[in-house]
């Protein structure tokens, strides 16, 4: 089992992802610089959070054109598992690996908080260790995280169970006040139709230890590690 964490210039949650995988879950992790052309022999890839290239253009837009992205797309086409967190989610939509866009929050300011997510689909490689409908406490930290897609796409995402995580109130209800960024359909995380590429704005790697307030993000990584092992062997 080997997981690659891609480092773009300006990534800043790269080491947090590495820490959860390597130090907590004792998995082999390779840090891959964005200028590389090959991912190497890996079972899964994480695109971490941060401000790639400073996000001076649209968030994720420059990173989506990095040299490593060519091999990442090939990897995803072959069925390799790819997880994009926060800026990683933005990069995946910019690269066309996931549908929709992440727009600026209507409040226009950065938000750092811990929110409640509901697991909408636990039949994915990234959520099999959760129960369907399980409520998770996971931190968010972003400005450009308001999920947008056209109505047709939203309908399809809903029908095909591609919405994996949704923002809900602490009691599990959909409510606008529990939606930290005005995401359409309260979407926090989606998966592609093939089920191997997931993007989410909340940070599961920040919720992997009781010491930091929540362990609810850990099952996402354990699900992924179970599923990804040897898939491409």
């Amino acid at each position: 089992m080997n997981v690659a964490v891609i480092r773009f210039p300006g990534s800043n949650c790269d080491d947090d992802a590495r820490y959860v995988l390597a130090d907590i879950l004792k998995t082999k992790v390779s840090m891959v610089w964005h200028q590389e052309h090959e991912l190497g022999n890996v079972d899964a890839v994480v695109l971490p959070g941060g401000f790639s290239y400073g996000d001076y253009l649209r968030s994720g837009a420059m990173a989506a054109l990095s040299p490593i992205m060519t091999d990442l797309k090939r990897f995803a086409e072959r069925g390799g598992y790819v997880l994009g967190i926060c800026n990683g989610f933005q990069i995946l939509t910019e690269a066309g690996l996931l549908e929709g866009q992440l727009a600026r929050r209507p409040q226009l300011s950065f938000i750092c908080d811990t929110v409640t997510l509901r697991v909408e689909n636990n039949k994915t490689a990234f959520s099999s260790d959760y129960k369907e409908g399980q409520l998770l406490r996971i931190p968010v930290a972003h400005n450009d995280g308001s999920y947008y897609a056209d109505e047709e796409t939203l309908r399809r995402l809903e029908q095909k169970g591609q919405i994996v995580f949704r923002y809900v109130s602490e009691s599990g209800e959909r409510s606008d006040s529990a939606n930290p960024n005005g995401s359409l359909n309260h979407i926090a995380g989606i998966i592609n139709t093939q089920g191997n590429v997931l993007g989410m704005m909340p940070h599961p790697e920040r919720a992997a230890e009781g010491l930091l307030g929540s362990e609810d993000g850990l099952a996402l990584f354990t699900s992924l590690l179970k599923q990804a092992k040897g898939v491409l062997a």
């Binding site: 210039p9 947090d16 610089w33 959070g49 950065f110």
Partner: protein
């Protein structure tokens, strides 16, 4: 018309005529304009501490925990097991007054460079901010801008902003204070010095290209703000956190691979101060090829290059023989890296342009600014305010007074500010902003935690600077004790008015004496800091000086971070205990100001031995796992502290106070050395056995109301009411 001689222009370089004449004597000739400007910058208060250095020498700087004291980019303290914390605080007051977003952003950038220059990875930022009244448009513009700037820079570079404080007072109306503290983790063996090392070593410039931005910033920061200060906007730089992130990673990698022997940030006065200081520390000279400095603009003169304060630039001294490897590493991080100079035996700072010497100054003289010792005299008006007796009526409805205090922006929740900061990136943040009196971060790979806080009550410091400064240190240490940390050391940011005024000099001297006394008593030496003078503003001929504000930034260590305390009440039935004693003191309190509009009287008395005993009691109870809930009594006194605990935990209390001192002092007085604890009933007997300081049981955690009775009356509110009063002022101001 006769051309002005250079001497006549001395003031434009920030030099007095006497200082100009000293330069002539040092050089044994007239300086040229480049040299005059370099002396002016390095002899400015900001770089040369010419008014404060004799006083700063009084501060205690030694202790077995201190690995690096003042004089380097940042101080460093030992936290055990081979780990150390580098930390420092610095001001960006004047830039933030004229351009709040970039002023604050570059303040964050500058202090972070100081941390990684020491070989430490920055892990946290705290901000101590001071503004005018919140109900003012300019304050809201400045507050919004400063918060946005901190958020832009800190969030993007990926260092969490974990704490700090915000105080609102009219004296900061035109001259806000933006003091930024940063800390970083390192291994002892990675400790760096900002040095050029030995003769022949190559100096490498890395980072952003040099532009005309920030020209004269050090001089700008060392003069009064005025109505024309907005014309100095070009003296404020623009920050690029993306570039800094690359610099940070590149420098740490170069240190880890042992490719450098010296690392230095280019801060105020740019290349002049960075290379000048590095040479001075090594006792060597430097040949600096100014034409090799990468430039953003055409046609820049040597003077412009030498004094530019363009952000995100560093100077590295390459390890001999490793120059090519170092440059290759820096280029991997997509950074411009150029050899700009070489270390020489001659002891001069020699500026060379295309082979021609255009500036030649002794390194030592440049770095040894003349110092001035003045006679401070206390302002009689302030003395009267403090010492003349006063009387105030006890308000009829003390409940209403409590609500007023909770709605006072200085006391009210800062949540709407903190949530704009990424306080969790790096996955170390164990105690998040607003949850306790200090921030706590874990140290990965150990059981340890590091706690940090900033503190200063400017009203105390105005009325009695020495006692005010002592209380700033004591309260910072009390904040750390309330999370269970043992205080280690401080960094200080001395914000004062114009030191050539006798009353301001008096305040500075007194405050430094107060810091010294408290730091000695609490064993928290000073490891560095920053002096920001000239914080005053002339408006329509009227001079408005800020209250003396010696901000204290303190760090401490928790041996086992799983044993810590926060301020939120946790369990129904817990027993509320007060350590320390209530007094009838009212002077200088937030209550007098908020309820009666008065700022007078003696700040609360402080006995450092009693303070230490109370703090050690709290630390020991928390570290033994006997207590997980603690909060100190500060602005607003006992009633406000209890309300904050109830609001944070969303739990009611039933408290009965028995003392017969006047009720406004009992509820809102700011007697020092008091800590509130909430103890599980089952642990109460064991706790009592440990207590060696005066204490009293106040009541218990119960229900959903805030109920407080005292001999002459009572206060009762539903939690939801005090909670919304506490949370709304900043939410409304920032929306």
């Amino acid at each position: 018309m006769r051309e002005q001689s250079l001497r006549e222009q001395a003031a434009t370089f920030g030099l007095s005529l006497e200082e100009f004449d000293s330069v002539v004597k040092i050089l044994d000739r007239e300086p040229n304009s480049l040299e005059a400007a370099m002396f002016g910058a390095l002899w400015s208060e900001h770089c040369g501490y010419k008014n404060s250095r004799p006083l700063l020498r009084r501060l205690p700087t030694k202790g077995e925990q201190v690995l690096q004291g003042p004089g380097e980019n940042a101080g460093v303290v030992d936290i055990g097991e081979g780990f150390a914390v580098a930390f420092k605080m610095e001001s960006h007051n004047h830039p933030s007054a004229v351009e709040p977003v970039q002023g604050a952003a570059t303040g964050v950038g500058g202090i972070l460079r100081d941390i990684f220059a020491m070989g430490a990875r920055p892990v946290a930022v705290l901000d101590s901010l001071r503004f005018g009244p919140l109900d003012n448009d300019r304050t809201r513009y400045l507050l919004g801008g400063v918060v946005h700037g901190i958020s832009l820079y800190g969030n993007a570079i990926g260092v969490p902003t974990v704490g700090g404080e915000i105080v609102f007072h009219p004296c900061y109306q035109e001259n806000p204070l933006v003091n930024v503290m940063a800390l970083g983790y390192m291994r002892h063996e990675d400790l760096q010095s900002g040095t050029v090392g030995n003769v022949g070593n190559q100096l490498i410039y890395v980072g952003s290209k040099t532009g005309r931005d920030g020209l004269g910033g050090a001089v700008f920061a060392s003069a009064d703000l005025s109505e024309t200060s907005n014309e100095d906007r070009p003296a404020v730089q623009v920050g690029d956190p993306f570039m800094e992130k690359l610099l940070l990673e590149a420098c740490l990698e170069a240190i880890e691979k042992e490719l450098v022997i010296g690392v230095q940030d280019m801060g105020a006065a740019g290349i002049t101060s960075s290379v000048g200081e590095m040479a001075y520390r090594a006792g060597k000279g430097v040949d600096l090829h100014v034409n090799r400095v990468p430039r953003r603009e055409e046609g820049m003169t040597p003077l412009e290059v030498m004094l530019s304060e363009s952000q995100e630039r560093m100077v590295l001294t390459a390890k001999p023989g490793k120059e090519a490897e170092l440059i290759a590493l820096l280029e991997k991080w997509e950074l411009d890296a150029t050899i700009i100079g070489e270390v020489a035996e001659h002891g001069m700072f020699r500026i060379i342009e295309n082979g021609e010497i255009v500036g030649d100054m002794p390194v030592a003289a440049l770095n040894e600014a003349p110092t001035y010792t003045r006679q401070g005299i206390e302002n009689q008006e302030i003395k009267d305010k403090r010492e003349l007796p006063f009387e105030v009526d006890i308000p009829k409805d003390l409940g209403k007074t409590l609500l007023k205090l909770l709605a006072n922006p200085t006391i009210a929740s800062k949540r709407p500010v903190f949530e704009q900061y990424d306080y969790q990136v790096m996955t170390n943040t164990v105690i998040v902003p607003g949850q306790a009196d200090a921030a706590v971060l874990r140290v990965k790979g150990t059981t340890k935690g590091v706690a940090a806080t900033t503190d200063c009550n400017p009203r105390y410091c105005q009325l009695m600077p020495k006692r005010g400064a002592m209380i700033a240190v004591a309260e910072a240490a009390r904040n750390l004790s309330c999370v269970g940390a043992t205080p280690l050391a401080i960094t200080d940011n001395l914000n004062f008015g114009n030191p050539t005024r006798t009353d301001v000099y008096f305040e500075l001297e007194q405050a430094i004496d107060g810091l010294s006394e408290a730091c000695l008593a609490l064993n928290t030496p000073v490891t560095g800091g920053n002096v920001s003078l000239y914080n005053q503003y002339t408006s329509e001929g009227r001079l408005v000086a800020i209250h003396p504000t010696p901000t204290v930034g303190m760090v401490g260590v928790l041996p086992d971070v799983s044993k810590r305390a926060t301020q939120d009440l946790k369990r129904e039935g817990d027993i509320l205990i007060l350590l320390g004693e209530n007094t009838s003191e009212l002077g200088a309190s937030e209550y007098l100001y908020t309820e009666h509009g008065l700022e007078l009287g003696f700040p609360p008395d402080i006995n450092l031995e009693k303070e230490k005993a109370v703090q050690q009691t709290a630390q020991s109870l928390i570290q033994q796992g006997l207590c997980d809930t603690a909060h100190d009594c500060s602005e607003g006194g006992l009633a406000v502290a209890l309300a904050e605990m109830a609001i944070a935990g969303n739990k009611g209390i039933k408290v009965s106070l028995k003392e017969t001192i006047r009720p406004d002092a009992l509820l809102f007085g700011e007697a020092q050395s008091r800590i509130l604890l909430s103890i599980e009933k089952a642990k109460l007997e064991r706790v009592k056995e440990v207590l060696k300081v005066p204490f009293q049981i106040l009541g218990e955690v119960s229900g959903e109301n805030f109920e407080l009775s005292f001999p002459s009356g009572s206060i009762a509110f539903p939690l939801s009411e005090i909670s919304s009063t506490f949370y709304s002022p900043l939410r409304e101001a920032l929306s």
